[in-house]
């Protein structure tokens, strides 16, 4: 962890000063103006985007990643530190403060993993690429069951390996101060481990999620419907209390899943014992 933290010092000066992102509302799917007209996120905020499938969550974070300026189909505008983005953010990846981990679970790239990462490290302006690549792969391998091998072709990676590598790449090689993650809970990765690792970084995190554990970890959440940002819910103390219980239940389920995976049986005495440990049954 500490060696990963040390990499933060190489955030390029142009992006080190990121203080806020602002989303100015546009229109939902039916062309009606969004209810939420403005959302401000500041450095260190953890935000979730929630809502049913097809309601526009991915579209919202794509708008952020593209620094929408009123010309995307939603008509939204995204401001960085209160201003429209400098043109070079998109033209020069080394100055782009946003990393997006999309729902894509396969690479089309016909390169070996190390060539891909070397190229990405070079264009993201990484000072010591060899070390960053090693860190990226070891970060990724903490999230996936099957280790990634540098000589593998990118196209050979499994869905889980791909998502793990993309998350690690965004954090270590991208080293971006703003990280957008699209439904990492469906990624076939160690989600709890991913959250633990991510918590070690001071960044703006935006999670698109259906997962109560991730949603309640956030400072607030944006509720979407019909393509529009509808309301904003701040995570109150009461919800944080609920989050504690959710974490226990979630760990219980993860434990059960692990037993199934390793070929064990789930008898009622095992379940009772676990529920007892949690204080749910006497």
């Amino acid at each position: 962890m500490s060696s990963l933290d040390a990499l933060d010092s190489r955030i390029p000066p142009s992006t080190r000063r990121i203080q806020t992102i602002t989303i100015l509302g546009g229109c939902g799917k039916n062309g009606v103006p969004e209810q939420l007209r403005r959302v401000d996120l500041k450095m260190g905020d953890i935000v979730s985007v929630v809502g049913p499938t097809g309601c526009g969550k991915t579209t919202l974070i794509n708008d952020i990643e593209l620094y929408a300026n009123g010309t995307t189909p939603t008509g939204r505008t995204v401001l960085i530190n209160g201003e429209p983005h400098p043109e070079d953010y998109l033209a020069d990846p080394s100055s782009n403060p946003i990393a997006l981990i999309s729902q894509h679970t396969n690479f089309l790239s016909d390169l070996p993993v190390h060539v891909f990462l070397e190229t990405h490290a070079r264009i993201r302006g990484v000072a010591s690429p060899a070390r960053a690549i090693e860190e990226t792969v070891s970060f990724a391998n903490q999230l996936t069951g099957e280790p990634i091998i540098l000589e593998n072709a990118m196209t050979e990676l499994s869905g889980g390996q791909t998502r793990s590598l993309l998350i690690a790449d965004a954090i270590v090689i991208g080293n971006s101060p703003i990280i957008l993650l699209d439904e990492i809970e469906n990624a076939g990765i160690h989600r709890t481990r991913a959250l633990e690792l991510l918590k070690g970084y001071e960044k703006i995190f935006i999670f698109v999620t259906h997962d109560p554990r991730i949603a309640l970890l956030s400072d607030f959440r944006i509720v979407m419907r019909d393509g529009a940002m509808q309301k904003l819910i701040v995570t109150k103390e009461e919800e944080k209390g609920v989050a504690q219980e959710i974490r226990k239940l979630d760990d219980l389920l993860l434990g059960l899943r692990q037993r199934i995976r390793s070929g064990d049986e789930l008898d009622s005495s095992y379940l009772n014992e676990k529920l007892h440990e949690l204080g749910y049954v006497a």
Partner: protein
């Protein structure tokens, strides 16, 4: 009048990009004409005519490679577009002959590449990319951000002087910089020359003589053991 020549491999998104560009230019009161050059089938002329009610033409290159065909017909096409009182002629051409490029010296040349096409494409398509002013990368919605950035780097390696525009062309996301380039492009002033080296003549293979072996051909030919040489008068 201005000319923009747009080339790229089959189904890379040329038409989709040009439709977005057309929509935006028409909204700015520009008058457009559209020409499609393809080998044996194309319906873009009807698409543009129907969707935008602008003058359109198409030509099939048949036995010629589309780039050679482009060289032959472009003069006539410019005169035709001028007669329709167009401000801008947009040309969509299939890039099949990877030795030539269809762009005109001093006028706008645009190549379209799809982000899904594999990292080696920029190395394979030669002057179609390296002599273009702008490379439009389409289908960015289908790849991860990291992959998109590495693809951009591969283009820059192959064509250091070419500007890159990334787009989800289905929704016109990201095409505005291309629209600006078209608006600011240079005016057509004859005489016009093909950019870079002209295609190596109209070779006998291009005109349909398919017999294998250079002994069957005349003009600039090539044997396995040596470089090009001239055979004939």
């Amino acid at each position: 009048m201005k000319l923009a020549v747009c080339a790229g491999p089959p189904t890379c998104g040329k038409t989709t990009v040009l439709r977005q560009v057309t929509k935006r230019l028409l909204a700015k009161q520009k008058r457009l004409a559209f020409l499609k050059i393809d080998v044996q089938y194309a319906d873009e002329d009807e698409i543009f005519q129907k969707e935008f009610s602008i003058p359109t033409r198409k030509v099939y290159s048949g036995e010629l490679c589309p780039d050679h065909c482009n060289v032959m017909v472009l003069g006539d096409a410019l005169r035709w577009a001028e007669q329709t009182a167009a401000d801008i002629l947009l040309v969509e051409t299939a890039g099949l002959c990877l030795r030539c490029s269809p762009y005109v010296e001093g006028l706008l040349g645009v190549v379209v590449l799809e982000a899904t096409s594999g990292m080696n494409l920029p190395r394979k398509i030669g002057p179609m990319l390296s002599l273009a002013d702008v490379a439009v990368v389409t289908k960015i919605d289908l790849v991860s951000q990291a992959e998109r950035e590495v693809f951009r780097a591969r283009i820059q390696e192959a064509a250091p002087g070419t500007a890159i525009v990334e787009s989800n062309a289905l929704y016109g996301i990201g095409v505005d910089p291309l629209v600006r380039r078209v608006e600011q492009a240079a005016e057509v002033i004859p005489p016009l020359f093909l950019r870079g080296n002209p295609p190596i003549g109209t070779c006998t293979i291009c005109v349909g003589k398919k017999e294998i072996g250079w002994q069957s051909h005349f003009g600039v030919v090539r044997a396995l053991e040596n470089q090009n040489f001239y055979r004939g008068e």
